[in-house]
Symmetry: C2
């Protein structure tokens, strides 16, 4: 099951984190951009080539210390068909280097359409008997606003294969409360109601570990809510965005973990991708060493999270 592979990766590297691959062009070192634009033209093909080269070098630098990458689909879709090609190649490359791939697409729709999204990212596409995987990620983020109809096809996939999902419950952004924090008649927040649903749904894909391949997205920027949610969704692994550049600390992120030191995986994107120009690493690395800086930052983050967990667990 997906959750076993995730826990195995986290244990192997002693590292409950995931590296976000959100390759904004401005994050990519100029020498990579210039080479790609020179070879493929200054347009979508060149941009996609630059993204792929950037991602590959990051994956090479991180694959023996970080268990998973999380490419954010928007940053590929903005380069059109060529961007999607770079996304597909990135997924393939990361998996070949032994990393799990969590596609961050926050997909959602009615049942029949959710089935198509599930086929696209987790399952297979049947073309009159020829069956192929489009992107073959290990997990996908999904949005619960349409209720179980739109989640069921993903749950079925997770229950019958080695794939997983993370359902948005409490997101890391400032305005997440506008809908998620609405208080319902029985005094519970909408995000708690969603958490209760995710807890029910998670029963369909529980492994011997006691954890489920049906996880939840819970932002590090809301540690108090994470503590509440940890109690509601006991079986669900939390994917925790918001650490680092968005303001969440290791102590905040620690609230998403269980007493066994498991239960969550913390994402960082910008702080790893752009480590070479950060205050911490810009003295040690130049642009050409962006991948080494990313690795050093990933190690620093791992230790930061570990320390916070030791204080709590």
């Amino acid at each position: 099951m997906f959750i076993d592979k995730l826990i195995e990766g986290i244990r192997k590297y002693g590292n409950p984190t995931v590296a976000g691959l959100d390759p904004k062009l401005e994050y990519i070192p100029s020498f990579i951009r210039e080479k790609a634009f020179g070879e493929c033209g200054k347009g979508f093909t060149g941009a996609a080539e630059a993204i792929l080269e950037f991602n590959k070098r990051l994956i090479d630098a991180l694959c023996d210390i970080v268990p998973a990458v999380k490419p954010q689909l928007a940053y590929y879709e903005m380069y059109g068909t060529e961007g999607i090609r770079a996304f597909a190649e990135t997924c393939r490359y990361a998996r070949a280097r032994g990393m799990l791939v969590i596609a961050d697409g926050k997909r959602n729709d009615i049942g029949s359409t959710a089935q198509a999204y599930s086929a696209a990212y987790l399952g297979r596409t049947d073309m009159d008997g020829t069956v192929l995987s489009a992107f073959d990620a290990d997990a996908l983020t999904v949005n619960p606003y349409l209720g179980i109809d739109g989640i069921k096809p993903f749950i079925d996939e997770c229950a019958s294969s080695d794939k997983g999902i993370f359902v948005l419950v409490k997101t890391s952004n400032k305005s997440s409360g506008q809908i998620q924090d609405l208080i319902t008649r029985d005094g519970k927040h909408v995000f708690e109601k969603v958490a209760k649903l995710v807890d029910e749904w998670s029963a369909a894909a529980v492994s011997e570990s006691g954890y489920s391949s049906i996880g939840a997205v819970v932002g590090a920027t809301f540690p108090e809510q994470a503590r509440v949610l940890r109690k509601i969704m006991k079986r669900s692994y939390f994917l925790v965005p918001g650490y680092g550049a968005q303001g969440g600390t290791a102590n905040d992120a620690a609230c998403a973990f269980n007493d066994d030191g498991l239960g969550a995986v913390v994402n960082a994107s910008r702080s790893i991708m752009c480590a070479w120009r950060s205050e911490t690493w810009s003295g040690k690395y130049e642009e050409s060493g962006f991948d080494h800086a990313a690795r050093d930052e990933a190690v620093r983050m791992r230790e930061d999270i570990r320390r916070a967990l030791e204080a709590v667990v």
Copy 2:
């Protein structure tokens, strides 16, 4: 503004409907599939070729009677990079034939990422000074679960260009109530709270028509709720799914309109795409006449909606 273009199209053809392009392979006539698989191989490239040929013939058959198409992204993403190429080509072809394109992607994320989605579907992508449009749709469906942060980049685009969005408020599927119908402390449903937000957001992109390019998705399967929502979001055009195959009738859909006969555009996908094998049209058409059947069904739907509107307005 987008909303002016939409209203102009609706008036020109006397037809407040949109044709969904959800090209499941099983919907595509076998002669198109066989030709495409023969020429491009039985795989993603062949499937994408079949989808594009199917869409083009539908667009040719509909472009002088229906103002807009709504391609559903999931049915392209499931064919990987080649599927996305077919989506991009479909958008281009439809616009060249004078139709508006509503990309149905239900995208959502935190602000910086929503900005990337906005660039991908509505705006432009800046690559070190070279500025190109990835998909250049006219409008996009978006999911409000993250609040204003994740909607603002789209609103800014709609306010400054000729693009639009439709925010999910009350969806057409059976389980839409699990979250959308939760009752908040002040006795309002979550979907009413979302509608109130959409109404606030819609102020940013109102044209001289009095309508806004910030619209809402309100399912035809919930006519009572549509009546309530019509009063909350006075400026917003409603994109109405659920007519036809999903069970919504013309009278149900009519609840989404204002007294001026405007205010909504009703979608049908399967009933138009698969008209040739429906009870109504299978006596008149064979598989090879699928596009003529689609046109006849689109006319029948137009008259069906018109009749229902005349009874109400």
